[in-house]
Amino acid sequence: MKYAYFPGCSLDATGIEFGLSNKLVAKKLDLDLWEIPDWNCCGASAAHLTNHMLALSLPARNLAIAEKAGMKVVAVPCAACFARCKATSEAVKSSEEMQKKISDIIEMDYQAKAEIFSLLDVIGKQIGLERIKAQVTKPLNGLKVASYYGCLLVRPPKIVQSDDPENPMTMDNIMAAIGAEPVEWSFKTECCGASHVVTKPSVGKDMIYEILKNAQINGAEAIATACPLCGLNLDMRQKQINANKGTNFNIPVFYFTELMALSFGCSGKDVGLSKHFVPAEGLIQEVFGRARREEA
């Protein structure tokens, strides 16, 4: 099936590993991702703090281009982009007046005919675990992963319609399918404080600290995420938090598609493992070693 694909800004910049690994995983899973041509920024949190109509119209333009090309489904990897696209689609579906207003602003007709899904849901629910398992050549045996969803994949629940706003399982199930061991932990859907890190770092860092602490207490060796902002925050700030709080966090943070691509046999170089702030190559090598030992 062909999916319209809206990568968003982060996947070419801070979340480049996410973009690289998405393409690798899509290829292995026969997922035909058609990148929306001439796409613009979704507005993320900046636009909807500025102007409600701007926040709805920015994603609407991208979705209108996909709709014009006859796409039925749009897959969005970034959690913030997904939440904004989904909110726009729901707003247009809910009122004819809103549909006219937004179409006027973007000077294109937009009917919200295409369904919007996060890439996580596309892979975890539509592709399904069986097809994922079939591609696994190097299972991540025993890697203890804390699946971290953050806020925007699960909230607001009525708009994003995830499997469960308090205890989502889609990523956990994918992790189990590629041979990792998803840990039970309590901070799956906490906010990582992304925006606070810029405006009030002390608040933001405390939020990251709590997430890392709970992952560590519950025995996680790595964190998997589906959001470039969460990924960046949890990965980049560990060193600062260690310095401030006297902790010794050393938990590599992966995009879930990175771990999938690695288990499908892709090389660390192609996946972008070297781009991590907390070094990840050592852990991955060690995990594959474990797998070999078990085979022997």
Binding site: D164, P165, E166, N167, S186, F187, N214, I217
Partner: protein, 460 residues
């Protein structure tokens, strides 16, 4: 209950279910299923020997799984009659055919494994509904409190069993996970109540007082303990209620106005993250035990029994009273009365008051030789009635039926069917008068002729 069981005019049918109710006020024909007890009560002396020797132990429903009960059991110590029944789902003899310990040990030979359900039909003059309530299933709605996966997050009813001297812990308040005594106990009120997103819109009314009692019990029974109560409002309208709440405050319970947004385990503590909205700050309490004051909901199967007996329920499934202020004990169906939480959330004093009122209503009904009825009811003109029966399904009170009459026609006596209204059941709604094709039914006091006269008087 013992007094009721011993009263010469009260027949107690314990362990029985209502299968069907036919008839009407003064003449209810009730079909009752007396469930198989597997114990002959005419022989059983209630010595309890069988209960001590039964090898098949299962979690006790009455103790909400905190303790165990044998498969031949009384639901609780004070149950009336004080004689056991066999649980056919868990009894080894009934399931696998092997065991029979209770039969061997019974000194009076009262055990009968071949017992069968018995169905009886009896006639009653009035019915009092008292089916009570269940607790809201918070485990299905409140993921932020762990969906029930943390053993030390319990409900007020669990706490009540633990605090009870004859309960599974002998009155000792413990953590179900490790049996240790909790020092810091967090109470969360309005779990499912006053929450129109995840739970029910209504206030469950009894929780403010029992939570104050529980907090008081924690402080009283556990040395060096601390009780935190997260609340939305403290609602204590009742005689001596507010005084009790203030006493709990004076004892040292910390009341925090705000909701708990998340509970998660850390070590052997449960971290409760909440808000104190009076100071506008986040609050985190590391608790040993968390007690949820969960909403009251109508007891399971109450909608089914309402359908069988023939009266309505409200939007939340509580039994509908005839008038919220003036007739809170009656239903719209004559002869059916309400007592207790089946009508809506209630505490014990309110339940006792309503139950007493229901009993008196029944006494008043039975004390008369004739029943007083509303005169504004439907009347059938038999000469006009064609006997089509269209009015019967229209009547919400099942007050109309067909009867056979004899009349003379062209010198011969013929028989035909006409509608007849039961004056005890008709509530004068007028639905049948509109449905009647030949115009044979009129509402007394509002006849078609009277209404047309009124129209004429107004218009001419």
């Amino acid at each position: 209950m013992v007094a009721a069981a011993q009263h010469p005019n009260i027949e107690l049918l314990a362990y029985s279910e209502i299968e069907d109710v036919k008839g009407y006020i003064g003449n209810f024909d009730v079909t009752i299923r007396k469930k198989a007890k597997y114990v002959d009560y005419s022989k059983c002396t209630g010595c309890g020997l069988c209960e001590t020797k039964c090898p098949s132990k299962v979690p006790s429903e009455y103790d909400l799984g905190l303790g165990k009960r044998p498969s031949i059991y009384k639901p609780f110590a004070q149950a009336v009659p004080s004689k056991p029944v066999i649980d056919p789902v868990n009894c080894r003899k009934l399931v696998k055919g092997k065991c029979g310990v209770c039969a061997k040990i019974c000194p009076t030979g009262a055990i009968n494994y071949d017992d069968k359900d018995e169905i009886i039909t009896e006639r009653f003059g009035a019915i009092v509904m008292a089916t009570g309530f269940d607790l809201f299933e918070w485990e299905k709605a409140y993921g932020e409190y762990g969906y029930g996966k943390y053993p030390d997050v319990i409900t007020g009813l669990h706490f009540e069993r633990m605090a009870n001297a004859s309960g599974p812990t002998g009155g000792k308040i413990i953590r179900p996970s490790d049996g240790k005594e909790p020092k810091t106990v967090v109470f969360i009120k309005c779990v499912g109540s006053r929450d129109n997103v995840k739970g029910k819109e209504y206030c469950s009314r009894a929780c403010c007082m029992y939570t104050a009692k529980h907090a008081h019990q924690v402080l009283d029974k556990i040395p060096d303990s601390q009780a935190y109560v997260f609340y939305m409002d403290v609602r204590t309208p009742g005689k001596a209620y507010d005084e009790f709440y203030n006493k709990t405050l004076d004892d040292g319970a910390v009341y925090l106005r705000g909701r708990v947004s998340k509970i998660y385990p850390e070590g052997d503590k449960l971290i409760c993250k909440g808000e104190d909205s009076l100071i506008g700050k986040n609050v985190t309490v590391a608790a040993d035990l968390v007690v949820l004051a969960t909403a009251m909901v109508p007891s399971a199967g109450s909608d089914k029994i309402a359908g069988i007996v023939g009266f309505s329920t409200d939007k939340d499934g509580w039994f509908q009273e005839a008038h919220p202020k003036l007739r809170p004990v009656e239903t719209h169906t004559g002869g059916v009365f309400l007592a207790g939480a089946c009508q809506g959330p209630k505490d014990i004093p309110d339940t006792v008051s309503q139950a007493s009122a229901a009993a008196v209503k029944v006494c008043a009904l039975f004390s008369k030789n004739e029943m007083e009825a509303d005169p504004m009811i439907s009347k059938v003109n038999e000469e006009k009635c064609s006997g089509c029966g269209m009015c019967i399904p229209c009547c919400p009170y099942k007050a109309i039926e067909l009867k056979t009459i004899q009349e003379r026609e062209h010198g011969k006596t013929i028989e035909r069917q006409v509608a007849t209204v039961n004056s005890g059941l008709c509530q004068g709604c007028g639905a049948c008068t509109a449905a009647c094709r030949p115009g044979a039914i009129d509402l007394e006091g509002f006849t078609n002729a009277q209404i047309l006269e009124e129209v004429d008087a107004l218009c001419l």
